[in-house]
């Protein structure tokens, strides 16, 4: 196998990258300086060797426990459960949330062979049981069919532990148009209506 083929194959293995894009990336890199190529290669190796899931919450981090878990100013009585690492970034970006996180690493999807054993469920239960400071678990899985089922399942496991379990509100997207929202969304927006 030629070096061009080898590199192209590696790119093509990445999610969302087809053969054509892989080839374009390869040819692009052939034109850059060796210094730039090393910078990319080093960044990949460094990230892969130094970034790990946080031993407490599962977020990718260079120091475990992560900076959020060790931050004294964060509210330790509340844990927000999300599907994937980037969801933490999305919530952090709002600046509205001061509690801790728990990353499941996916959502229940029996068709894809993903059950509770494939997710960080046990570590969540451990965080909440016993002498835990956690008073509330916010289930922030996606409002998809699978995300909803995952939230239902977790609710069932968490409720007997005496912790308050909440689900992020669903409803109409800001800037969305009532007329075009689907029936389930409208029904839920009505069901979770609030006083003004």
């Amino acid at each position: 196998m030629s070096l061009i083929e080898r590199l192209t194959d590696e790119f093509a293995r990445l999610p969302g990258i087809g053969r054509k894009t892989a080839l374009r990336l390869t040819y692009h890199l052939l034109k850059v300086t060796s210094q730039e190529a090393h910078r990319l290669a080093d960044a990949i190796v460094a990230a892969s060797e130094n970034v790990r899931p946080c031993e407490t919450c599962g977020t990718f981090t260079e120091v475990s426990p992560c900076r959020i878990c060790t931050n004294e100013r964060r509210d330790r009585s509340i844990v927000c459960v999300v599907e994937e690492g980037p969801d933490v970034g999305a919530i952090e970006a709002t600046g509205e949330y001061r509690g801790l996180y728990h990353v499941l690493g996916g959502r229940l999807s029996p068709l894809d062979g993903v059950g509770p054993a494939e997710l960080n469920v046990n570590s969540l239960l451990d965080r909440v049981s016993g002498e835990s400071p956690v008073r509330e678990v916010v289930l922030a899985t996606n409002p998809s069919v699978e995300g909803e089922a995952t939230a239902m399942y977790l609710h069932r496991l968490l409720a007997p532990l005496g912790v308050r379990v909440t689900r992020i509100a669903r409803g109409l997207p800001v800037g969305g148009d009532l007329e075009y929202a689907d029936g389930v969304t409208i029904a839920e927006a009505l069901q979770y209506r609030r006083d003004l």
Partner: protein, 377 residues
């Protein structure tokens, strides 16, 4: 609504045909296997972006070609719209556009033509399996109820996931995690079906009396959930409560059988008719004669036309594919009279011989079709 022009490219046995369709419609005459049904299939493709015969898209592409395309100019109450649909067999990709713009989801572009298709294969709606009748309901309701399709798709996805859990023999905690979603989406589907049947029962019976010279018949919803059709009140709340209690009741059994046993995926429609003499009502699926079954199928399509007319605020285009082949003269005449009364609806009708069609006082233009080529006579 009416179709003013149509262009077919590599669709079935059409290489490249451009047709200008008269406002009142057209009668298309041709021997067997020349493309009559294919032409109507193409028109209906612009309505639901699938074959009305349930053929996979691959089969619509002309032999030896990769991409088929249908484009139609549709006029109606508002301004004219161009609707186009193409399917690339190699890339397995479908592209739908309305006035050149691709909708976010293909489902958003459904029903833009406004068309009802009568086909000889419709007899299977009465004589065939429940799946065919659910498909009928799903198409009519997707075309006329704004959120039906989303609810249905969501329901199907949850059902697949839930059945996968059941098949794997997982704990009830894992199974029931899917229940709220299943009940929420499924109940909306059931309630829409229930409302549709309730609102169409009388007109179905009236259509049958009209075509079959006074015979009595009834259209009933036969839901998987034990719902009383007569009872009104809030349908959705009632369906939700029933769905929940039925899931609880069947929990053990579904664990053993490894599948969800109740819900809209098991609904059915029932058509019954008063059988001669004894005043008994029989299920047309089981006991109907061939003619009775065909009549009921035609009546069901007429009721579909009523539903579309109300949604569109104008007459749907009526496609009649060789429907009189197996009906007696009296019934055929009465169906034609219905079509005539539907004027100003555009009618596109096919038959093997010109003599079979005597519509609109013989005023409908006649075209001939041969080997995928259309010519006006």
């Amino acid at each position: 609504m009416y179709l003013s022009s149509l262009r077919l490219t590599n669709f079935r046995n059409f290489a490249d045909e451009r047709l200008t369709i008269p406002r009142e419609g057209v009668a298309i005459v041709g021997d067997n296997g020349q493309g009559k049904t294919n032409l109507l299939e193409a028109i209906y493709y612009l309505e639901i972006f699938r074959s009305f015969r349930g053929a996979p898209d691959d089969q619509l592409v002309r032999f030896g070609e990769d991409v088929c395309r249908v484009e139609g100019l549709v006029g109606g109450a508002g301004e004219a719209r161009t609707i186009a649909a193409a399917y690339d067999r190699r890339a397995r990709r479908k592209k739908v556009t309305v006035d050149g713009v691709e909708p976010d989801r293909i489902g958003d572009a459904l029903g833009r033509v406004g068309v009802v298709m009568f086909s000889p294969a419709d007899v299977a709606l009465v004589s065939g399996s429940p799946a065919g009748r659910r498909r009928f309901l799903d198409i009519v309701l997707s075309l006329t109820e704004r959120h039906y399709l989303e609810d249905l798709q969501r329901y199907r996805q949850i059902l697949l996931q839930r059945n996968a859990v059941l098949r794997a023999g997982e704990s009830t905690a894992l199974v029931s995690a899917w229940n709220p979603g299943l009940v929420r989406a499924g109940s909306r589907v059931v309630a829409a079906r229930l409302r549709w049947v309730r609102s169409r029962r009388d007109s179905f019976a009236a259509r049958i009396r009209e075509i079959a010279n006074g015979s009595d018949a009834a259209l009933e919803f036969d839901p998987s959930l034990p719902l009383d059709e007569e009872e009104s009140g809030d349908d959705l709340d009632r369906v939700v409560a029933t769905f929940e209690s039925e899931l609880a009741r069947t929990a053990d059994r579904e664990q053993r059988r490894g599948a969800t046993l109740v819900g809209p995926h098991r609904d059915d429609l029932r058509m019954r008719a008063a059988s001669g003499g004894h005043g008994e009502w029989v299920d047309l699926r089981v006991y109907g004669s061939g003619g009775q079954q065909r009549t009921a199928a035609v009546a069901l399509r007429m009721v579909e036309a009523d539903t579309l007319r109300e949604r569109l605020g104008s007459e749907p285009v009526i496609l009649l594919d060789d429907v009189f082949a197996e009906l007696d003269v009296g019934r055929s005449q009465r169906i034609l009279r219905w079509v005539d009364r539907e004027a100003p609806a555009q009618v596109i009708i096919t038959a093997p011989k010109p003599a079979d069609i005597e519509l609109r006082g013989g005023a409908l233009p006649v075209w001939s079709i041969r080997g995928g080529h259309v010519e006006s006579l």
